[in-house]
């Protein structure tokens, strides 16, 4: 028996949702019948719209899917203009103000406080400029991720950008692949740094060499069934397939169809392909793909370059793409740190101007919630780096600023149980002012997720923080579970959860004490991840050692019970009415 969601999807789903969406936008939010809201809100996701949480009725989060994080010249300005005009609501964020854009861990963009009546105008502006929200959420092909500087990166094995573009064009709006049992996350990477984070995707294409007719050909190895959500993280599994670039689309479509036909539509908790791979094993996935979904002989796995991976590994060069790096054409890409991925609309517009002035106008987004300005010639580099905006969005930030990733949290999300983005900003600022990493340790990744859905990818950080509650001085307060030692690379490792329910105001002290122990007890040259690996859970729990400091947390109370955590009168009964239609 299919689920409610499957029944709703069987009635209306995919491209056709748009007509209904526009009709509701025309007639007003209240025209959505009360007893159909759950169904329509579920369907709207396919067009990139999430209804915000309880207390924010009538406001939506809008996700713009930018394949591989690529924003072509002019597109960032469009995003900034839309954020400035439409992403304003009744709540003001004390750190980020009234209008802002969020860069996400899947190289997309999220705007908040969007009103339904504005959606047609926003879509028109996006589409006039080559942008789209189509399939940014919902049960289908999500935004395709990869190394954001594909086609430009001097460390590239193969240019994945044409492959990603082809996949995007083939599978966005494709009725055969529009209604899958669950989301379908694809990563295509051509660089040898691992920055596509393929291991945590449903489907990953990773650069690999294969001898074909006596010649070494560059293509991709295929991995299936990775993902972090629901307390059951999985690494994508090798299915013994190498594919040439011109056949990626066939294999990707075959696997997407295999998932469409065989994924579990009766239990959404069990629907992701990672559970099908658990059940079948990689061999059966390969056999089924070969027998039923492709009409050519699949090659066996090729020689990968995983040993060279550095991205998010906790050691070595290029743990992220922040800083100045060489492009293949002799110019540079400059990765700028955007703390927790959030940028005020005015700053977005300023950055768009700078990208046009010093580079080609193109900007790209990384999976660490940062922005990259590409195509900056050597001659323009110093002037660009001197721009005042880069004092805030630095190419050379403190390790605690550059290492911070945070999900949306109780500000807008209906799942989260703690406040996240502003808290992570406060954590990073306090750590920057008060804590030094040991000599030679330049990177330290701290990811904060508001619940077990793992949108901040907490399991692949040095320090993983996840929302919980505890009691302090008799009162319930927001708290965080602490995990340690996660990261990607040739040998990816999920964090080990060692300490539970640390009151949020004691978390910076806990991290400071942890780093002090690491500095005192590490072997020479030892990375934090290696340090964690050689200690048992009890030892690590003792290192964490929560402690009050001069850090103050203004959001200790139960923010999920507010209508907006930062409102002066934040109680649910003070929630604003749905926006009037204009």
């Amino acid at each position: 028996m299919p689920t409610d969601v499957e029944n709703w999807k069987s009635e209306v789903y995919g491209n056709e949702i748009r007509d209904h969406l526009f009709e509701f936008a025309e007639q007003g939010f209240d025209s959505i019948p009360d007893d159909e809201r759950d169904a329509w809100f579920e369907r709207f996701k396919w067009w990139g719209l999430y209804h915000q949480r309880n207390g924010q009725e009538g406001y939506f989060m809008m996700r713009i899917g930018t394949p591989n994080g690529v924003l072509e010249p002019g597109q960032l300005r469009v995003v900034g203009e839309i954020a400035d005009e439409y992403a304003r609501g009744p709540g003001t964020n004390p750190i980020f103000g009234d209008a802002y854009a969020d860069f996400t861990t899947r190289q997309s963009i999220q705007l908040h406080w969007i009103e339904l009546s504005d959606v047609p105008a926003i879509f028109e502006k996006l589409e006039e400029n080559g942008l789209s929200t189509q399939q940014a959420c919902g049960d289908s092909w999500r935004n395709i991720v990869g190394n954001p500087v594909a086609g430009k990166d001097a460390q590239e094995v193969i240019d994945a950008w044409p492959v990603i573009r082809e996949l995007n064009e083939t599978f966005k709006g494709n009725d055969d692949h529009a209604n899958l049992p669950r989301k379908w996350k694809v990563s295509v990477t051509g660089s040898a740094d691992g920055s596509g984070q393929g291991d945590i995707n449903d489907l990953a294409f990773e650069p690999a060499y294969k001898e074909i007719d006596g010649e070494d050909v560059v293509g991709f190895n295929v991995r299936v069934g990775g993902g972090l959500s629901r307390n059951e993280p999985r690494l994508a599994r090798e299915i013994d397939v190498w594919v040439a670039p011109d056949q990626v689309s066939d294999v990707a479509g075959g696997l997407s169809a295999l998932f469409r036909d065989n994924g579990d539509r009766e239990d959404r908790y069990n629907a992701r392909i990672k559970f099908l791979v658990d059940e079948w094993g990689p061999e059966r996935v390969r056999e089924t793909l070969q027998d039923e979904y492709v009409d050519f002989e699949l090659e066996t796995v090729g020689r990968d370059v995983r040993e060279e991976y550095t991205y998010n590994t906790g050691a070595g060069e290029r743990n992220d793409l922040v800083g100045v790096h060489d492009q293949t054409d002799g110019t540079n890409f400059v990765g700028l740190n955007v703390l927790v991925g959030r940028m005020g609309a005015a700053d977005v517009l300023d950055l768009a101007d700078l990208a046009a002035e010093y580079g080609s106008g193109e900007v790209r987004l990384s999976q660490r919630q940062n922005v990259i300005v590409t195509d900056v010639p050597d001659a323009a580099l110093d002037d660009f780096l001197d721009e005042p905006l880069l004092d805030h969005y630095s190419p050379d930030p403190s390790p605690f600023m550059r290492g911070s990733v945070a999900c949306t949290g109780t500000e807008f999300c209906s799942l989260s149980i703690v406040e996240t983005k502003n808290r992570q900003v406060r954590f990073a600022r306090w750590l920057k002012a008060n804590v030094d990493l040991p000599v030679g340790v330049d990177e330290f990744h701290i990811h904060l997720s508001g619940c077990t859905a793992s949108c901040a990818q907490p399991q692949i950080a040095d320090v993983s923080l996840r929302g919980m509650k505890t009691r302090k001085d008799g009162d319930p307060v927001e708290a965080l579970d602490v995990g340690l030692g996660g990261g990607l690379g040739d040998e990816p490792q999920f964090a080990r959860w060692v300490t539970q329910r640390v009151p949020v105001d004691e978390v910076p002290g806990a991290i400071a004490n942890l780093i002090e122990s690491f500095a005192a007890e590490r072997d020479e040259g030892e990375s934090f991840r290696a340090f964690v690996a050689r200690h048992d859970d009890d030892e690590l729990d003792a290192f964490v050692d929560p402690e009050e400091t001069d850090y103050e947390d203004p959001m200790m109370h139960n923010t999920k019970r507010t209508w907006y955590p930062y409102a002066e009168n934040d109680a649910m009964e003070d929630a604003p009415s749905p926006p009037a239609d204009d």
Partner: protein, 99 residues
């Protein structure tokens, strides 16, 4: 410790309760999570889940306990919880009045 077994998000029934694990050879106080759930479609039973924080209990490996209740059993439990809650609140009021 291993990861939590129960998903904890805004839909979890209680993300913070005071609990105790008790055996013949051990006793440990621990905070915990309590959740009531059932499949969205064709549910036959109500599931009551309890997981105490593993870091607070050395004597047990990480685990969650689940009880499958028929609707009638779930109602019996709910009524017992309601009436006992009434009794506790009444006792507290009496205490407040005499204080």
């Amino acid at each position: 410790m291993s990861d939590r077994l129960i998903r904890v998000n805004a839909y979890t029934t209680l993300d913070l309760v005071d609990g105790r694990a008790r055996g013949h050879e051990f006793e440990a106080d621990a905070p915990g999570v309590v959740n009531v759930t059932a499949p969205r479609e064709d549910p036959e039973r109500v599931t009551l889940e309890v997981e105490l924080d593993n870091t607070a209990i050395d004597a047990l490996t990480a685990h969650a306990d689940e009880v499958a209740l028929s609707p009638a059993q779930a109602r019996t439990l709910a009524e017992a919880l309601e009436s006992t809650a009434d009794r506790v609140e009444a006792a507290q009021r009496d205490e407040d009045d005499t204080a």
